[in-house]
């Protein structure tokens, strides 16, 4: 037989206190994360890419942004990986040479033209400029045509 636990008012209150302290302790990190979050602060439209992209490449992701860059025969192009359907972030699948949207299954070809799914138009291209030190600056607010290259 299990020993019966004595449940006085004091025991219950002590448990309640311990529970409150535990909840308080556990909520410290979430609170700090919440208060320190900068996700809702406006971002600069300018994205910089440290490499100079001298050789021909497939699409390269620029860290901490939605911008991808590549160099082909005509020059350097930058693409903003935001689905033209409802704004989800799309990713480039190297092995398929296609952009896939995880939300509603839109598919774009390697140049960003819609192939399947609800996407109404091609993925937006952004203007690229080269700084004096050779790194690239992509202006995501300045949209350019599909065939524009640096």
């Amino acid at each position: 037989m299990a020993k019966q636990i004595e449940c006085s008012r004091r025991t219950v209150l002590r448990f309640a206190w311990a529970g409150m302290v535990a909840v308080g302790g556990l909520s410290v990190k979430p609170l700090v994360d919440y208060l320190m979050s900068k996700e809702d602060q406006p971002r600069s439209p300018l994205v910089s890419y440290a490499k100079s992209l001298e050789e021909k490449t497939d699409w390269q992701h620029v860290p901490n942004s939605r911008v991808w860059v590549k160099r082909d025969d005509q020059g350097i192009a930058a693409l903003v990986a935001t689905c033209t359907h409802l704004g989800c972030e799309v990713t480039y699948h190297l092995e398929r040479k296609q952009w896939l949207c995880p939300c509603h299954g839109s598919i774009y070809d390697t140049e960003g033209r819609p192939v399947a799914g609800p996407a109404p138009k091609a993925l937006p291209r952004a203007a690229v400029e080269r700084k004096a030190d050779g790194s690239l600056i992509i202006n995501t607010e300045k949209q350019v045509g599909l065939d524009v290259r640096l």
């Binding site: 006085s8 979430p30 609170l31 994360d33 919440y34 979050s37 996700e39 809702d40």
Partner: protein, 241 residues
């Protein structure tokens, strides 16, 4: 047998030998220190409480639960203010950002939302209980009126919170409210402007509503609530008449 002993130690002894009684005996100066302050302390810590009022089934703790919800709303509300941006275009998108991108934002917003829903329910049940037990009758008639004032404040706070979401529904609600206020002859237009600012038909979120919801109304309500609680003791505590 054991039960009654337990009650004796935890309820009766502190009543006979409370700090409060000793303070009164030891420092007569305390008594002269302005009547209202003394009055306040006496009613916050009464000399004795009838054992019958410790029963949960008389009040069902509905007032206390409402106050608990109010505290919860205050804490989560202050946290939401760190990321919420009022305004016709920014209100709704900042709510979406809090709910989807900011870490733990959805928990804080949901706690705020559901505490508000629960508070509306407990406040109304509290009023039903007061009517049921005839607790609005003298000598508690003034506290009943204070309670009615608090009910109005809760409803206005609930409404302004609904407007601050900034969704299309809130825009429609704000437009209806503004048009209702504007029907008042003479004062109407000014009143609508002071209460709601200039909400668009697509979003009820304005800076004016934000100030009412986050500063003026909660502070007014907190003050009135403290008076409400003090008044309970002043009028003789909670007990069947």
């Amino acid at each position: 047998m054991k039960d009654s002993k337990e009650t004796e130690t935890s309820v009766q002894r502190p009543i006979l030998m409370s700090d409060h009684d000793q303070k009164e005996k030891l420092s007569p100066v305390h008594k002269l220190e302005g009547n209202s302050r003394n009055n306040f302390i006496n009613h916050v810590r009464p000399r004795f409480i009838s054992e019958r009022v410790l029963s949960v089934f008389y009040t069902f703790c509905l007032g206390g639960l409402s106050f608990l919800a109010f505290l919860m709303l205050g804490i989560t509300g202050i946290l939401l203010m760190f990321h919420y941006q009022p305004g016709a275009s920014s209100g709704y998108s900042s709510v979406l950002t809090i709910g989807s991108v900011i870490p733990y934002g959805y928990i804080i917003r949901n706690l705020h939302y559901w505490s508000a829903q629960i508070m509306i329910v407990t406040v109304n049940l509290h009023m039903v209980r007061v009517v049921w037990t005839h607790s609005y009758k003298p000598p508690r008639q003034l506290n009943w009126l204070v309670g009615v004032g608090l009910l109005v404040l809760v409803l206005v706070l609930d409404f302004t919170g609904y407007l601050l979401v900034g969704s299309q529904e809130s825009g429609a609600a704000a437009t209806v409210a503004a048009n209702l206020l504007k029907q008042i002859p003479g004062l109407g237009t000014a009143l609508a402007q002071i209460a709601l600012g200039e909400p668009s038909a697509l979003s009820g979120s304005t800076l004016v509503v934000y100030v009412w919801h986050c500063a003026v109304l909660p502070l007014a309500m907190l003050w009135l609530q403290l008076y409400h609680f003090w008044r309970i003791r002043r009028d003789g505590g909670v007990r069947p008449l």
